[in-house]
Symmetry: C3
Amino acid sequence: MSSSTAKAARRKRLPALQSHERQSAKTRSLKSAIFFSAAVLTVSDSCARGERVDLSGPAVARALKEAGFRVTASKVVPDDSVQIQNALIHLVAGARLVVTTGGTGVAPRDVTPEATRAVCDRVLDGVAERMRIEGAKKTQFAALSRGVCGVRGISLILNLPGSPSGAVESLRAVVGLFPHALDLLEGKTEHS
Amino acid sequence: MSSSTAKAARRKRLPALQSHERQSAKTRSLKSAIFFSAAVLTVSDSCARGERVDLSGPAVARALKEAGFRVTASKVVPDDSVQIQNALIHLVAGARLVVTTGGTGVAPRDVTPEATRAVCDRVLDGVAERMRIEGAKKTQFAALSRGVCGVRGISLILNLPGSPSGAVESLRAVVGLFPHALDLLEGKTEHS
Amino acid sequence: MSSSTAKAARRKRLPALQSHERQSAKTRSLKSAIFFSAAVLTVSDSCARGERVDLSGPAVARALKEAGFRVTASKVVPDDSVQIQNALIHLVAGARLVVTTGGTGVAPRDVTPEATRAVCDRVLDGVAERMRIEGAKKTQFAALSRGVCGVRGISLILNLPGSPSGAVESLRAVVGLFPHALDLLEGKTEHS
């Protein structure tokens, strides 16, 4: 291929560049996400006791980075409502998005959603709904997930399930919403 | 026209007549909706201050009329919970369906859903869910809408987003439910 | 055995064996469901007064048996919140799954969801959501159903609509979740 042909071919690739300019909401989210800090909270008795290696927390952190967030902190706590609430309050002070993994099921020790509601100003029902609807495409048991998404101050808190794959898939179903939601929480809005 | 041609023409018309007879739930709703009054409440700081022309309220009123409702009142209030609650209570006194537009997002000034819950006897989660699910076909950000639908006495209150197109599309996703729901609220039910 | 006899035997046996091997989540649920007891509560003024034959309760009981549950009790109460709550508390004492039919609509006498919430420790939003989403495939009015699913102790309570067909269809949309959920409620979980 001659140099000029290669150039022409490259020129043909331009529509790709143009489609980059007519960039999708997803792409825009990715770009603005880099301005937002995120923290990960693993909620698990066995991880907190050191009896099990936390795979979910690191998997969620990687998925957040892939989505363009700066992961600035991570923590592990047992399935204890007070400890979860304290950790959420602490992490929200330093991050615009705090993502938990674990404790969202129907077992008696699953208390993450209640602890999250306790520290949130408002709950965004549509975000949890979207995770369950997307999850239902893989397993009917997504309907049993009780995870919530809420607002505390100008930060968001999101509950994900405890398994690494479940956590990452649930996060991916909704992470594209957060840069826009975080902008709105700061009062950046085109209409008032 | 010969008798046989007339017959053929009639035969051609019949499917239309038959489909009219096997009329869809949507058509039936439209017919019964004309017996119901509706009011529109625009919730917007800038419209209330007169700094912006209210396009959403009139757009919602038109969509309600198209769906067969008699629009008997409309009002504009700022994003203030007490003023929203007072307006809802006032409008419900004169209309079976009160539709709000604005204040359903995640920004700090968005308080319409909380004000609506405060004046409702019950909330119909499935109606807001249906608006979000339909909305998700156009934009993922429908998941961030916090609008609710509730019952106050024998009236319904529905929260729609603030943009004219978002408001009208959300309304259309659920307006067909209301004539039946309003009948039930009056105690008109085939089973007891 | 001649080749043709073997073929006939295989023909007879194979479909069963193969479908057993490719056993779906539904089949697996069915197997574990036989360990769980269930009770049915019909909520209806007219049935409680003996003015109407209860068709929904028996239809729900049959559907539960088909799903592998042992139906150990059934009861009829009027649309009265205190009587519903007392019946739920009583039935939960003897059954792991209590299914109600009736009183989930928007009419003023429909109080089953409120009575259910009052006796539940937690509500599983995703289960009601799943019933509404499945129901919407048949009728838009599924969005008006206010039925909930909640946890009381180690038992589940599920609200179904009042019509026999609506009740059975809603039950079938979610019954496959319950054996797993009931295992989790007993603390049977692969992760902790």
